[in-house]
Symmetry: C2
Subunit: 210 residues, 2 copies
């Protein structure tokens, strides 16, 4: 098997995946037909089945790819020597930039989560669970070094953090939030402010609670 052939094959696969992203974003996974994907990609119907076992596998592939990148980014942020707040900043920044760069893909990832989560094997759920655990781990470290208050379970904090981000994208996707170029950076900052200034030990305070 020649290298150029392998590459051409991988390119075709990618072509189909990219077409699928556009179609899924436009019509939704359920409402679209496999022929729509083939048409969008400019290939014959059957070719989709040469590269994928089923329509579901196309969606699954997109999810696995994306979440693997996501996990990589989180692990990377976690491993760097920086303040915990900056680690969270790196994560929210990555997700928001993902949306800025490829809104269709992120729309699919957000809108079809529940379908993917119920897919056989539920591999995605494992990935999502891992992501939560990694974020919770970051929060824990923040608690250990005194940056974050210790009376909020890290797992819950991770939930709130990720929830805020996801809702942000959801708002953009469904037109519930304004969407200008300036919004992206402001949004990143905002999520951090809301979540961290609620997690960080009040610099003067402590007294505030008791």
């Amino acid at each position: 098997m020649s290298a150029s052939r392998t590459k051409a094959s991988a390119d075709k696969r990618r072509l189909i995946l990219d077409a699928a992203v556009r179609v899924f974003a436009r019509q939704g996974f359920h409402a679209c037909r496999v022929s729509d994907i083939a048409d969008e990609a400019g290939v014959a119907y059957g070719l989709v089945y040469h590269y994928f076992d089923s329509k579901d596998e196309v969606l699954d592939t997109l999810f696995l790819e994306r979440w693997n990148v996501m996990l990589e980014v989180i692990r990377d942020a976690d491993s760097r020597p920086m303040p915990v707040r900056d680690k969270l900043a790196a994560i929210v920044s990555f997700i928001v930039d993902s949306y800025r760069h490829d809104p269709d893909l992120m729309k699919v990832i957000i809108v079809e989560v529940t379908r993917a989560a119920n897919s056989p094997g539920r591999t995605h759920l494992d990935q999502i669970r891992t992501a939560y655990e990694l974020i919770a781990g970051i929060v824990s470290k923040g608690q250990a070094d005194g940056t974050f208050r210790a009376d909020i379970e890290a797992r819950f904090a991770a939930m709130a953090f990720y929830g805020a981000i996801e809702q942000l994208l959801t708002g953009w996707i469904f037109g519930l939030l304004p969407l200008g170029e300036g919004e992206f950076e402001r949004a990143k900052q905002l999520v951090l402010e809301v979540v961290c200034d609620g997690l960080e030990v009040s610099p003067v305070g402590e007294a505030a609670v008791g």
Copy 2:
């Protein structure tokens, strides 16, 4: 048309709706058949179509009902003379209790949002938008009376608040978060703490920022 007849009719309709909740929660809207709903309700297939125009209308009805209650609760909280933090507490409390009381229903509401949001007319989106606006209004008042910091747009704060709650339920639904009876009250408290202590002007601080 007699009153008892009207009532019996309404009861049958309700019977079908309740059965639909269980079936949707168990199998998902897409994966279930109308006959599953009829079987679960113990009625003939055709009767579903006597009370509803389509399968979608069944789901739509559940959404409209639930979001109307939701809007009512938010409006009610908003109108009472209480600290803004307590208003938010009332909202998160209602949603968490909704899940405690009827997890199947809330699972459907959470899991099938995007399908409902894309439904013709998109009435749900209007309701959701209204909910966001009402919550944002509450935050605004908090900003006006000095309880909340003014440098975070109310709309975004509402987003983060609702996002945290929704992610909480999502975590429970997909088994990403532990679920004991004690969890519910702790969770309510937690959401408030994360979000409000990030929004509220630091009691001693202010200095913290600049």
